[in-house]
């Protein structure tokens, strides 16, 4: 049996969920076709979400690329087709050779599997970090904080995911939701996720109400780590600190739950449970243009 999953016209963290419910209901061994013919736009979360989905399937699902030439060109410039090549079977040829040069792509889709990858990402984006933060109206010295956020979020893949993942950074004008320019960092892996990671060394943490949501609350709000060392768990706390300073929004989806650390005025739910199961962890940080006081 083959199921066609239609990739939304506009693919972001919210619309990505429309792919996961039917996916979660599929019987084992079902084939999947990812149909992106009518997709015109994707956030970095959407693109690396598709990679994670294909990676988690492990059966090289068929992938029908977007029909719109501009979309194909943009996805090529983000590195999407190149990274998806070993994970999907393309229904028609796509430009898999890397073509850089899009000013909205601050960091192309980059695989994270080992420490050196994080070093590469931080070094690669270091000079651009100042541009990124100045674009948003923050002082250039915020660039180091931006690199730290990127480093700590990528490290969680290496330290906790138990498998490789991806990171991407883009900027765009978020007219519909915010009316301002934003920079978006997306990090995703198909590893073991927060709940299983915390269970590894915290047997006592498992209780009647223990689930993916409780695991996210423990890690993000209370700094709980699978390690007993009190020095652990500081990365997420640090990310939260910077997000607060920049009026940014930080979400983590893991398993069947999603937690949101959000700026004032954002009416998103702080914790969503009982979502369709999706492996690993997906981070998204949305840093909006600073508002003049």
């Amino acid at each position: 049996m083959t199921t066609i999953l239609t990739v939304p016209n506009s693919l972001d963290d919210v619309s990505f969920e429309s792919l996961l419910q039917p996916l979660a209901e599929l019987p084992a061994g079902s084939k999947v076709v990812l149909d992106a013919r009518h997709t015109r736009w994707s956030s970095p979360y959407g693109l690396i979400g598709l990679l994670t989905l294909a990676q988690a399937r492990g059966d090289r699902p068929h992938f029908i690329p977007p029909e719109d030439a501009d979309t194909v060109s943009y996805w090529a410039r983000t590195g999407f087709f190149r990274h998806a090549e070993p994970l999907v079977e393309y229904a028609r040829p796509v430009p898999t050779r890397f073509k850089s040069g899009d000013s909205n792509v601050f960091l192309e889709i980059t695989p994270i599997a080992k420490t050196e990858d994080v070093q590469y990402v931080v070094s690669h984006i270091q000079e651009r970090s100042a541009v990124i933060m100045e674009t948003l109206g923050f002082p250039a010295r915020s660039a180091v904080g931006f690199s730290v956020v990127l480093s700590e979020s990528c490290q969680n893949i290496i330290e906790h995911a138990g498998g490789p993942g991806w990171v991407a950074v883009q900027t765009y004008n978020w007219t519909k939701r915010l009316g301002r320019r934003v920079v978006v960092i997306a990090v995703s892996d198909s590893g073991i996720g927060f709940r299983r990671s915390l269970e590894q060394r915290n047997a006592q943490i498992v209780s009647d109400r223990w689930d993916d949501g409780a695991a996210l609350e423990a890690a993000v709000l209370r700094g709980t780590s699978r390690f007993t060392d009190p020095g652990r768990g500081q990365g997420l706390a640090g990310i939260r600190k910077y997000m607060g300073r920049w009026g940014a929004k930080f979400t983590i989806r893991s398993g069947t739950a999603r937690i949101a650390i959000k700026p004032e005025g954002d009416d998103d739910q702080p914790l969503i449970k009982h979502m369709p199961q999706f492996p690993g962890s997906q981070y998204q940080m949305i840093i909006p243009q600073a508002v003049a006081p």
């Binding site: 994080v118 070093q119 070094s123 690199s147 020095g231 990365g235």
Partner: protein
């Protein structure tokens, strides 16, 4: 009281530990590798030691690396520990220089998490205590610095503190390896 300072360039340690392509101290694995390099050098130096960790050529320092390098180094060598912690038998002193504001942003939460403190030489040459220190410790440390060191009476002349109270606070600072205690009194950490 002069200890021969051991200058430790973090950028050079990173080059030896991993590769010389990068100047950023990021990730726990990198932190562990750099700390191992530093520990080798420190262990080659017998007796009391004053290590001067130089961050001047470091770009980004993240929380994980700050924890692995700075906090773990202080914990292992018994320096900057909370006042109630047992003091190490052979004192090791640490000074930090070249720390930019962005480095301190990563370092301070790490120090607070472990209850640690350290002595920083600022870019302008002034000295600063960073981390978990209470106001009494801060003022006593400042007196040692201002006076240039000496016995308690000499140091007390630079402030309005009761000598007995000051002595207790200086002993506590010495136990934390934030000042050096000798038979001649208490002395600030200096590397030149």
């Amino acid at each position: 009281m002069m200890l021969t300072p051991l200058p430790l360039d973090l950028r050079a340690a990173l080059s030896r530990a991993e590769c010389d392509l990068y100047s950023n101290l990021v990730t726990r694995a990198t932190g562990r590798a750099v700390r191992s390099e530093l520990e080798l050098l420190l262990n080659d130096m017998p007796g009391q030691r004053l290590a001067v960790l130089d961050f001047s050529h470091v770009g980004v320092l993240d929380f994980s690396c700050a924890d692995e390098i700075v906090a773990q180094l202080l914990l292992r060598f018994g320096a900057g520990l909370p006042a109630h912690a047992p003091a190490s038998e052979t004192p090791s002193y640490f000074m930090f220089r070249g720390l930019a504001e962005a480095h301190l942003e990563a370092l301070e939460p790490v120090l607070e998490r472990h209850g640690l403190a350290l002595v920083v030489e600022c870019v302008d040459g002034s000295m600063q205590l960073v981390g978990m220190v209470d106001p009494d410790e801060q003022s006593a440390w400042q007196l040692v610095l201002t006076s240039g060191g000496g016995d308690v009476q000499a140091i007390a002349q630079f402030g309005a503190d009761d000598t007995r109270d000051l002595h207790a606070r200086l002993v506590a600072l010495a136990r934390r390896r934030l000042v050096i205690q000798t038979s001649a009194g208490f002395h600030p950490l200096k590397h030149h």
